[in-house]
Symmetry: C2
Subunit: 384 residues, 2 copies
């Protein structure tokens, strides 16, 4: 096991009715900016509940944070927060609203050009505005971590950032607010959580059996409950377990003491930036192709994953690995997700600029930094 | 799943050499009281390393905190801390030193008689002195939680306490410091961690499949590595995984959304208080007898535990449950632990005062509050 630090001070308030605790978690004299997305919270009652709970506060709002939140949009919220001297940010939404709000938090008092937070390695984030969240979608895990991913329209970039200062002070996870979500968003959330786990687990053995077991536990749970959660939108327990699984998938626990991959995400981000595909969908497209390309590097873990999560224990190693990858892709497809770029109207010539950009950046991806731009090209061609 | 709050702000610094980070974690002007136990840290070099790391600080020390730390001993440390105006407590040791230091932290500024912290339900703990820890033994999980257990010599009582204010600010987990521990302490630690898990897991199904998987993951890991860790004292990975498993076994994660048991601990505490038996040993004695007594209440979970942890899937339910309990007891015995009270020189007539005290207290134990004093008597009689 490698050395590691683990620190996660997010207070999780989990369950039906937990929104009532909001006023206990925010300082009484706070000037709150409530951030949200496209307005679904106005339809499902969450918006009204938050407003009710916070009736005693000075409460401003900023709606319209889009999926794959845009730098351009968020900078308008930063302006508003600066003008109104906002002292607390309350993100009400899914991962995009949360990620966007973390960026707003970091940008409000940032000394230089806030774009540096995304573009400059080692940009110093300090003096953030505290964040709380009311989660409305189980997927990204942003509610219990300190990172985010932001897109820039102008340059088609999608870039990650983070700081230990950006952990939410609290996150309210009420599974009932996910009842009204479209099936596609639930499906994308299952895939997102699933692949957050594989990024930290499907690498190489590193003498960390407990982290392996935890990772497998989340995968097994998602396999068990994911398809059911789609067709039983009003099952509290299914939605609750999905929510908790997604949170645990990316709160820092699985990566303790091990080397992580994240190549699927890096390639997936490009597919979103270029073709506007949903984040979860891009992951479901890339992962099977990446696992085949990197099967040699990931051999031991693929065999272990196949045996423990899919019960695949018979046949040659190569056969078991191929069967494991097929099972994985079938699982995504069983959730209604199209796992080929061609099914999303993308043509092979359209991937050229992605490969060129990765070559320019000289990125070497994966847990061994062995996924070169040439191999990314092979992976992307295998997504058709 | 039940509603729950989860909050655990302990910063874990894990790995060989992490003690070097001590000065980064303690305020520069702190007056530190270093607490420790019987002096093994002076033999294995930990004492010197801590002193070296903290050369720039005003550093006082209080040694001699015993296993099952005594109220009487701890109150002497409280006096010292008050006199010297200590502003930071550094616990260097195992669970007893950590638990004891949490009590010292709570008692220093406590408004009334500090005994109330242990004896009075609802005693208000506020204004604690911050704690950090250097863990030297994997067992209790105290390094990443906010509770403790303290004994009172005078009245043979062993009582639990806790407060969210008592989370250590940080805990340093360096597996190499456990290399020199006696085999019995490693064995007791494995059992302690194992039974922390069963207390939160072997109850009744509550639609919390992920918590089940995490619990099973820790148990599987302990079964795999426990016996090896005993006979390979210098294996970094074995000791590291044992340490991380013990920490994860009682940091609040497993009990999220589920009802917990703790009857084995409550009964075990009495065995320690009356007969001076090691904590881990008392748990290994009580658990098999308790599982047989409560087999009906725990039926579904016992079957699941048997199947997933021990691979027991064939035979009638009753047969599988009995085999599962036997496997569990054999596991403890394989660690060199004697699981019968008679093996520790206790006679049947000696358990009478324990049963009488529990009857006086009118305690009903277990996840269903169904373990009455009469059933405790049956359980204890089955420990011979």
């Amino acid at each position: 096991m490698k050395n590691f630090d683990f620190y996660n001070p997010v207070k999780i308030l989990f369950g039906e009715g937990k929104m009532d605790q909001l006023p206990m978690e925010i300082p009484a004299n706070a000037v709150i900016l409530m951030t949200y997305g496209g307005g679904s919270i106005k339809k499902n009652g969450v918006y009204d509940k938050v407003k009710q709970s916070l009736a005693g506060y000075k409460l401003l709002e900023f709606g319209g944070i889009e999926a794959n939140p845009k730098y351009e949009t968020l900078m308008r919220a930063v302006e508003l927060a600066r003008t109104e001297k906002v002292t607390f940010l309350l993100a009400v939404g899914g991962g995009s609203v949360l990620d966007g709000t973390k960026f707003i938090s970091a940008a409000i008092n940032y000394a230089g050009d806030p774009w540096e937070i995304l573009a400059k390695r080692g940009a110093v984030i300090e003096n953030v505005v505290p964040i709380g969240s009311v989660l409305t979608l189980a997927a990204t895990g942003s509610e219990m971590n300190s990172g985010g991913v932001i897109s820039k329209l102008e340059t088609k970039e999608k870039l990650a950032f983070g700081s230990p200062l950006l952990f939410p002070k609290f996150s309210i996870l009420d599974p009932t607010v996910t009842y009204s979500l479209p099936v596609t968003q639930i499906a994308n959330g299952v895939v997102d959580a699933f692949i957050h786990v594989t990024e930290q687990y499907l690498t190489f053995p590193e003498a960390a059996p407990l982290q392996d077991r935890f990772a497998e536990g989340i995968l097994q749970t998602l396999v068990e409950i994911g398809p059911q959660a789609l067709i039983n939108p009003l099952s509290y327990d299914l939605r609750a377990n999905l929510m908790w699984s997604a949170t645990m998938a990316l709160n820092g626990l699985l990566s303790c003491g091990v080397t992580t991959d994240w190549a699927t995400h890096m390639i997936g981000h490009e597919l979103t930036a270029f073709f506007g595909l949903d984040h979860g969908v891009t992951l479901a497209i890339v992962l099977p192709a990446l696992l085949r390309e990197a099967a040699e590097e990931k051999r031991e873990k693929l065999l272990q994953y196949g045996a423990r999560v899919w019960g695949i224990t018979v046949g040659t190693e190569d056969r078991r690995i191929e069967e494991t990858i097929q099972k994985t892709e079938s699982f995504f497809r069983s959730l209604g997700i199209k796992t080929k770029l061609s099914e999303h109207g993308v043509t092979k010539d359209q991937i050229v600029p992605i490969v060129e950009r990765l070559a320019d950046r000289k990125w070497k991806l994966g847990e061994r930094r062995s996924i070169t731009p040439e191999r990314v090209e092979r992976i992307l061609l295998a997504c058709f």
